[in-house]
Symmetry: C2
Subunit: 405 residues, 2 copies
């Protein structure tokens, strides 16, 4: 065992260890940290000596939360569109008033790198304050080859200079931009032949995601873009059936994707295909509530054995939410997931959707990204859904306290 820097003991440790049942709780547990990683996990009585020992008085210690689906890099504000939707305006009416994704494209394209990074980091401060230590961030609000590369480079710059959260960048083929709708085949070819290869070459993302839905990309286009991604060694993911089921679940299964996300609309065959392929179903209850969509078929996903993740969908259109614990509450209430399913959804299963081993668990070798809570019961975090920041005693990133900014 390496020299131990820190031992955290007298904790209810939620290991999320796949070798243990449920949440892998150790009621009188401890963990040991060396070089920013977890070096030992076990009963408090057996904990090794350390330079620093922290006693939690029986309170809950969990993995840092993992938010596996966000669109956190953008400029502009769509509060006005939120008000229009609340007043009953539909998608088309909002689009006609200059709303929708196009309303984020223009300010994002117009913003400087520094402006984009400052906006992103304001959100990341809140994200970390709510206990999220790993966050996926998708591009997708420029929709030109150079512009999407710029967004991913801004994300990379932020990832290199900040002390948390851990950032997992994803290239998102979000939709065909307004100026290319007359020319969409050529646009898709650019994505396949220029953007995806450039992202792979520069190492700007580990996966490619396609929004396969009405008004976004067709199934054939999705196949072409994700095929190009696989050819370049990138992992693939997909937005599936948020509004209409185009058959993306089956395609993702065929391609061995990491995740299929949204899933308000998906066939039984699509669920079975996801289960066979071991694809994570990413649940986004905040966006579902905000757009007043039907609840995805949780019971069928559970029965089929599909692992479920829960994410914020942090984005300016349908879910401007940095607080993953609110999604935990929505998952365990509106979506009918169990508390254990919801917690695994923001820890181990979320990390699986990102292709990350170890992250989202408290197991030997995993990064020491932790949340020390002021409560004892994992259910308290969703149960007290208005109090999440005040329930957090300390967030640790790579073994060190991450002070609120």
């Amino acid at each position: 065992m390496p020299d131990i820097d820190t031992v955290i003991r007298d904790a209810r440790v939620m290991t999320c260890d796949p070798a243990r049942a449920g949440l892998g709780m150790i009621d009188h547990g401890a963990i040991a940290i060396a070089n920013g990683a977890i070096a030992w996990v076990g009963e408090a009585a057996d904990a090794p000596p350390a330079r620093r020992t922290i006693e939690l008085g029986g309170r809950l210690l969990t993995p840092g939360l993992v938010d596996c689906h966000t669109h956190a890099i953008f400029a502009g504000d769509r509060a006005n569109e939120f008000a229009m939707r609340a007043a009953g305006a539909g998608y088309l009416e909002i689009a006609a008033a200059g709303g929708g994704i196009a309303a984020t494209l223009m300010p994002t394209r117009a913003a400087s790198d520094d402006e984009l990074i400052e906006l992103l980091e304001g959100r990341l401060d809140l994200v970390l304050g709510h206990g999220t230590t790993t966050i996926e961030i998708k591009s997708g609000y420029d929709l030109t080859v150079e512009g999407e590369l710029r967004l991913l480079r801004c994300v990379a710059r932020s990832a290199q200079t900040r002390g948390g959260p851990r950032i997992v960048p994803t290239l998102l083929a979000h939709l065909v931009p307004p100026e290319r709708t007359g020319d969409r085949d050529a646009f898709v070819r650019e994505l396949c032949d220029q953007l995806v290869p450039a992202v792979a070459r520069e190492g700007l993302a580990t996966s490619v995601d396609v929004y396969c839905d009405e008004g976004a990309f067709t199934l054939a286009e999705t196949r072409a873009i994700l095929g190009a991604a696989k050819q370049r060694g990138l992992a693939v993911r997909g937005h599936v059936g948020q509004f209409r089921d185009l058959g993306a679940a089956d395609l993702l299964a065929e391609l061995g994707a990491l995740s299929g996300d949204h899933l308000e609309q998906v066939t039984d065959a699509g669920i079975a295909a996801m289960a066979r392929a071991g694809i994570v179903a990413v649940m986004l209850p905040g966006a579902c509530i905000q757009l007043r969509l039907p609840v995805p078929p949780i019971d069928k996903l559970r029965a089929a054995g599909v692992a479920m993740a829960v994410a914020s969908d942090l984005n300016p259109g349908s879910s401007y939410c940095e607080a993953l614990p609110i999604q935990l509450w929505l998952a365990a209430t509106h979506y009918g997931m169990t508390v254990d399913e919801a917690w695994l959804g923001v820890t181990r299963h979320a990390a699986k959707a990102l292709g990350l081993a170890g992250v989202g668990t408290l197991t030997v070798g995993a990064p020491a990204d932790l949340v020390a809570w002021r409560c004892e019961d994992p259910a308290t975090v969703p149960y007290r859904y208005g109090a999440s920041t005040s329930l957090i005693d300390e967030v640790y990133f790579a073994g060190e306290p991450a002070p609120p900014r």
Copy 2:
């Protein structure tokens, strides 16, 4: 005009003044404060001189939020019950495991006054931090005559010693306690003949609320209890049709009640009666989501001209939430209320449900309970539903900043 202590200017002032349309916005507005009350409201250019001037740089200034329906005084924790419900357990199964309201009765009865007040004040700190400056607090977790009086005396003690939020105590006839179910007529008579008169005599509450629903009080019992309240000069309110419509809306209209709350189940005739009687419909979307109930008939309430309030229902069973802005988001999304309706629901209409004149508005004579926000658009508060505390720049209570504790 009295001597002005403070002018807050260069603000987007949301007056909620009933003499103005919608939210009564003044885009380049100001307010003047004297002796803890609002002494003047108007255009920034016309603001009077003052000892202290605060410039808001064009940002939003609103009334302090009013949470008109809470059960905030209790002891004990029901996180375990939350987990059972998430795992699919029904009401009866939870009750058989010792859950439900009975699970709060025992620890509340066992807690000392000081313990109850400490627990309450921990919640009130969070409530104030989320922008709520007036909160209604119902008794209802003891269910003996002496015990209910004790709860209301604890609330009164807290109200006298704290610097906010403003507290409006309500006597709630919550349900027949387990030990009196064989004896319920006598229990109802005790409420009518002993508890209600004692509350009126001691001035411990301004209104009486009855939970009229399956498993709680029948319509005839509700009529008896609310009749006793009216006889003693107390205002009346009712929990209406959360699970089943027993006809309480019509009864409340007949009695000239302040509000009918929940309303997941209510007939068209009940809505019409509420409209005729000018009764506020109190919407409780957090509890609705958590119990997976149908959405109340918002469109019908709107069409009938019923004023709608929005509240947290802060309670240990179905909505442990101190954050009213999350309810604002749920109202404007899941409930399909407009942003203006949702905002009036946590300001002027909520105050109306409490029988308070002026509160919930920025008008001359109202208490200077305010929130200065870090945004400009009222829609931003529900839109950024994970960020409410960080959107608040300052909460003012009776004209003075209320520092976070």
